[in-house]
Symmetry: C2
Subunit: 305 residues, 2 copies
């Protein structure tokens, strides 16, 4: 890593902390957190040459993002992050559009229901319904990669569990960015990487998990896929930062899948923080992660590089 | 994976088993195992455009493999596999030459001393000496990637431990193919993947470990880098098969390094067997693994893709 990269990270960390910190001396309301997050990303443009269209009629709440020259019958089914209670189509459109361009396929971004108004399993039900809908739209199951960052990675992974358990046909792959896979927060990285992580703490994550879980046990695999049986999973790619407290659960998940014979690519990026590809406009490593993900998605979809 | 790939794997597995099995009703001698392994790979040609040259004068026992247009001052320092008691420059020349071409750098392949004639730490001493020698030849430490397959991966990883502990300057990266990192054979994959692995068994590996270890405790980190403190390691790439009993130790190693903030790429290849890039002439996945390794080595050496 060169000096310029380091400066960009430092600058970004400062920006994030400024935006995330409570500037009023009292916790932000759920609504305020939602709007401040959307605003934070509002200035980042979507990728060139993409057509964004709301999904209509019988489809799920969400939008399609179609890059120029997108391969037909292939899709990236994307679930945004935000702790299950914030984040939106808007906050993640810039990232999802870049992933769509990098992979050369249509992205379908889902506006799933959020906690605390809609706790578990509302978001997961929406996610599974979105996959079922895609199958009715002429996308072959092997032509679909499920993906998401943070809580969206949880939804993508839990959806694959549900797909398998409900006997639906298997998708082509699962791509996860800094996924939140263990809502019991049992990972040792909560201790070991705590001093490196400028964004997440065990205390905050415990509160956020509670909003989503309600009365559900955090070890329930559909809520915490790290506790799931991962046999029969499609190929998995995980990008996670070495400097984030969610590191361990990615390793646990990779290990479980691999021991079932599943193809796994676990990329631990040095010095990177939670969901850094979201910050591609400031971080060259975000750009590189998106490019690599695009190549992997094409491979998972049996497309030429 | 398509039908052709599957057929190639099945064909290869049969070939390997034929070659590996004892055809005389009694164990092969060490010398017979060495020569049969060399013969098995004798027919595989080295990559086009490489110049192979024995290292002379004060250098280590070994050879340089220089591909056409190799980037100056960059090197892949390679240690062949073979359970510390077989394998040679000759058996691995075809693989090392292809890695050199894929990375576009000179490979330096080391003919370290073998067990049982030369038990631990003879091979490791030779490996560390080779790194020291490269530094005297004008290669900057960050311009060197250490690499190896199986027992050679052990040597590469243990050499990085020694480099750090002896205060030598840090290399640019560590690239491991199906590394044997835990000579105590504690990995759960010895149970979980046993029925998938056509080559290695816990029983055989225990005997082989004993030849190398002699009176040394298998948990000694220089003999089993999975037990080492991996802080300060350079970036690591690991390619391991989902169908080999050595799977777990790669995951353990990746986890330990990541929790120290080290950049790690762990690639678990579905359906692949121990050290499959050695079989690139029969397996398309071997070709692909070599190509990916080449790109990663270039990245670790700060070269353009």
């Amino acid at each position: 890593m060169n000096t310029q990269d380091k400066a960009a990270i430092a600058s970004f960390k400062a920006q994030w902390l400024l935006a995330a910190v409570n500037r009023r001396g009292a916790p932000l309301s759920v609504e305020e957190q939602r709007s401040s997050f959307d605003e934070f990303f509002h200035i980042v443009p979507i990728a060139d040459g993409c057509v964004v269209q709301e999904i209509r009629s019988e489809g799920p709440a969400g939008e399609t993002i179609v890059p120029r020259g997108a391969t037909p019958s292939r899709a990236l089914l994307y679930f945004h992050g935000g702790g299950f209670f914030f984040g939106s189509l808007q906050s993640h459109r810039h990232l999802v559009s870049r992933l769509a361009v990098a992979a050369g396929v249509t992205a379908v971004s889902i506006d799933y229901r959020l906690a605390p108004e809609h706790p578990f399993p509302a978001a997961l039900d929406d996610a599974v319904a979105a996959y079922r809908w895609l199958l009715t739209q002429g996308f072959p199951p092997g032509g679909i990669v499920l993906a998401g960052d943070s809580a969206g990675g949880n939804l993508a992974a839990a959806t694959v569990l549900r797909i398998r358990d409900e006997g639906l046909p298997k998708p082509g792959g699962l791509y996860l960015i800094s996924p939140w896979l263990d809502l019991t927060l049992s990972g040792e990285s909560y201790e070991v990487r705590a001093s490196q992580d400028p964004i997440l703490t065990q205390e905050t994550m415990r509160e956020v998990a509670q909003l989503y879980l309600g009365q559900i046990d955090g070890q329930y695999p559909y809520a915490s896929p790290a506790y799931g049986d991962l046999s029969g999973f499609p190929s998995i790619m995980i990008q996670v930062g070495a400097d984030e407290v969610l590191l361990s659960e990615s390793i646990v998940f990779a290990r479980k899948a691999a021991l079932h014979g599943v193809g796994v690519r676990l990329h631990v990026w040095p010095e990177m923080i939670h969901a850094w590809p979201l910050f591609h406009s400031a971080l060259p490593q975000g750009i590189r992660a998106i490019a690599e993900a695009g190549l992997w998605i094409r491979e998972a979809l049996s497309l030429e590089p």
